[in-house]
């Protein structure tokens, strides 16, 4: 533990990223990222495509490796130790742009699979928990269907419920509404807003600025692999500091 981390807050941040760098081959995709996220904080990450925002949150559960610096999640150092990686993945849920439900399993099986095999929860208990979370995302009647039979919005809500079944401490959202038809975006956002109100620690890569205004504690703007600026939503939208942020906001808020 470095001095900086200890000095930061009395309570340990749940995610702590210190001067982290990542390269794809020669391409420097993340540059000197410093970020700490407190428990219960909702963070919205935005920025133009290719800015490294997805890569950043994918580093947090080790879907991507980083080459320099250190990420600590819930007090566990994310390094090459497989045990640490598994421990972190158990605590961090992730929702993908393309849902990534398992098409050969029913909705209920999608939800109970990880609790049964990873958490070793008894099947009956896992199914009860799964039904509870399906109620929460308001589609309990779809439990016996296959993902291919659901609409995009329903699939994404199942994906959120699937992550929640592992009782994660942190949820990562990687553009969860970008693959959805406009009328389905709301149902997914509502689920996420509810989750935020319950105190879940969330990192959301999204362009839904309404969502950012409603529930985010902090909005982070990335460009070219760097964090350009971060601020509370009010300040961020009303009073952006850098030129790049201003340009980006004018582009995405103009329509």
């Amino acid at each position: 533990m470095t001095d900086a981390a200890i000095a930061a807050t009395a309570e340990e941040p749940v995610i702590n990223i210190q001067s982290m760098h990542k390269w794809y081959g020669e391409f420097h995709v993340l540059k000197d990222i410093d970020l700490s996220v407190d428990k219960g904080e909702v963070l919205v990450i935005c920025g133009p495509s290719g800015s490294g925002k997805s890569t950043l949150i994918r580093c947090i559960n080790r879907l991507e490796e980083y080459q320099k610096g250190l990420i600590t999640v819930d007090g566990i150092a994310l390094n090459n130790d497989v045990k640490n990686i598994d421990a972190i993945r158990r605590e961090v849920g992730m929702v993908f742009q393309s849902f990534n439900l398992f098409p050969h399993l029913t909705v209920l099986q999608n939800l109970t699979l990880a609790p049964i095999w990873v958490r070793k929860t008894p099947k009956k208990e896992a199914e009860e928990a799964a039904m509870y979370f399906l109620e929460r995302v308001k589609i309990p009647e779809q439990a016996e269907k296959y993902p291919g039979q659901l609409s995009g919005g329903q699939q994404q809500r199942v994906a959120i419920a699937r992550s929640l079944c592992m009782r994660p401490k942190i949820m990562l959202f990687d553009e969860p509404t970008s693959a959805l038809d406009p009328e389905m975006i709301k149902e997914v956002l509502d689920t996420m807003i509810e989750l935020a109100h319950e105190g879940m620690t969330m990192l959301c890569v999204t362009h839904e600025m309404g969502f950012a205004r409603t529930v985010a504690n902090r909005v982070l703007f990335m460009d070219g692999g760097e964090i350009i600026e971060q601020n509370e939503p009010e300040e961020f939208f009303l009073n952006p500091q850098s030129e790049r942020t201003k340009l980006f906001l004018s582009q995405i808020l103009s329509h």
Partner: protein, 374 residues
């Protein structure tokens, strides 16, 4: 028929008589222009000619054969005179073709072995039977099979496996070959796609080496060269060597088929499994392989069918599988020349097994398809 719907004057009638039914279809597809009419007539005449020829050969001119009242033997003379299909030949040589040189007094044993094999396969085809006990059943069945064929215990007389042949041998080589090759191929495919350099290198090396040589060469090496490397006094059974050669060969081919399936699975599936904390083997067993194997069913069955027939290559190292016994049946001087009967008979047998595999794979694909079931 003609009914008036409310408010409108639309009269509902059936489609015009000549546009539907068999007549309509014939008119629309076969006789819709002068050139088409000519082609259709010529082809229909040709089909009729072939059909009549086949009926004549297989039934009208065929000889069932009569047993000599004194000796009880069948004779080839009537067949030679008639020129039709010689059922007498099949009756006379059936035992030899199906069971090879297995002692005729013990014929029931290979017969039971075939029944055991076929029922085991049928049971395994049922998805409800895909439980751990099925594996136990297979091992038990193989032991029973070995005792049945080989004997020497339980009061069964010993029959050396040089006397095994025909259908039991073909089924043994192909079914056991594929049953063992399939899991091995999955391991090889996973090894080849894995991140571990050593595992990857071994699997790639094995697959490329085996695929690079003809099956006949592998069989030859197994039967001729391999014993030279063994210390004197130690021998490994020829049949076993051929069986192992077939397993390894089929595994290399199947591994590439399975790898194709693995590569067709979107990375999102891997990432979703990873992000849920599943370990490598859990991820593969629960998420990736069920999907990969499902989409690989057509090429897997293709390989299965190919290998089922390729087992006939063991004739080259002196094992008498179905093709071997069919050829052996033709060497009898009294029955020389009935090639068509002999080969047609085993062709029908091969076709039954291959057609079953093909139909079963189609059925399985339908049953396992969850992607578009709305």
């Amino acid at each position: 028929m003609a009914e008036q719907s409310q408010g409108t004057a639309v009269v509902e009638t059936g489609p015009p008589v000549m546009s539907h039914g068999i007549l309509g279809w014939l008119r629309a597809n076969l006789f819709n222009s002068i050139p088409n009419m000519i082609i259709s007539v010529v082809l229909l005449a040709l089909l009729l000619w072939i059909f009549i020829g086949m009926v004549n050969w297989l039934f009208l001119d065929a000889v069932w054969g009569e047993r000599d009242p004194q000796t009880g033997a069948l004779s080839a003379d009537a067949c030679r005179a008639a020129g039709g299909f010689c059922y007498a030949f099949i009756r006379e040589k059936m035992r030899l073709i199906l069971f090879g040189t297995y002692p005729s007094a013990e014929q029931l044993r290979p017969f039971l072995a075939v029944i055991l094999f076929v029922s085991l396969i049928l049971v395994s085809c049922n998805r409800n039977a895909w439980k751990p006990w099925l594996g136990v059943a297979w091992v038990a069945a193989l032991v029973v099979l070995w005792i049945l064929m080989s004997g020497g215990v339980l009061g069964l007389s010993y029959v050396p496996n040089t006397n095994w042949g025909g259908l039991p041998l073909t089924l043994m080589l192909s079914v056991i070959g594929l049953v063992f090759a399939f899991p091995l191929s999955i391991v090889l495919a996973l090894g080849r796609t894995s991140d571990l350099p050593a595992a990857k290198m071994i699997c790639v090396g094995f697959i490329e080496l085996v695929r690079g040589v003809p099956l006949i060469t592998v069989l030859f090496m197994a039967s001729v060269m391999f014993p030279l490397f063994l210390p004197t006094g130690i021998t490994i059974d020829k049949l076993l060597r051929a069986q192992v050669a077939i397993i390894l060969f089929a595994a290399a081919y199947l591994a590439e088929v399975v790898r194709g399936g693995l590569q067709a699975i979107p990375t999102g599936q891997y990432e979703a499994a990873d992000s849920l904390g599943l370990g490598y083997w859990q991820k593969m067993r629960l998420i990736i392989l069920p999907q990969a194997l499902k989409i690989s069913i057509p090429p897997i069955v293709n390989t299965f069918i190919g290998f089922f027939k390729d087992t006939s290559l063991v004739i080259i190292i002196g094992l008498f599988d179905l093709l071997g016994t069919a050829k052996a049946a033709l060497t009898d001087p009294a029955w020389r020349g009935f090639y068509k009967e002999s080969y047609l008979f085993i062709a029908v047998l091969y076709f039954c097994f291959c057609f079953f595999m093909s139909k079963y794979s189609q059925h399985l694909e339908k049953r396992l398809n969850t992607s578009h079931r709305r």
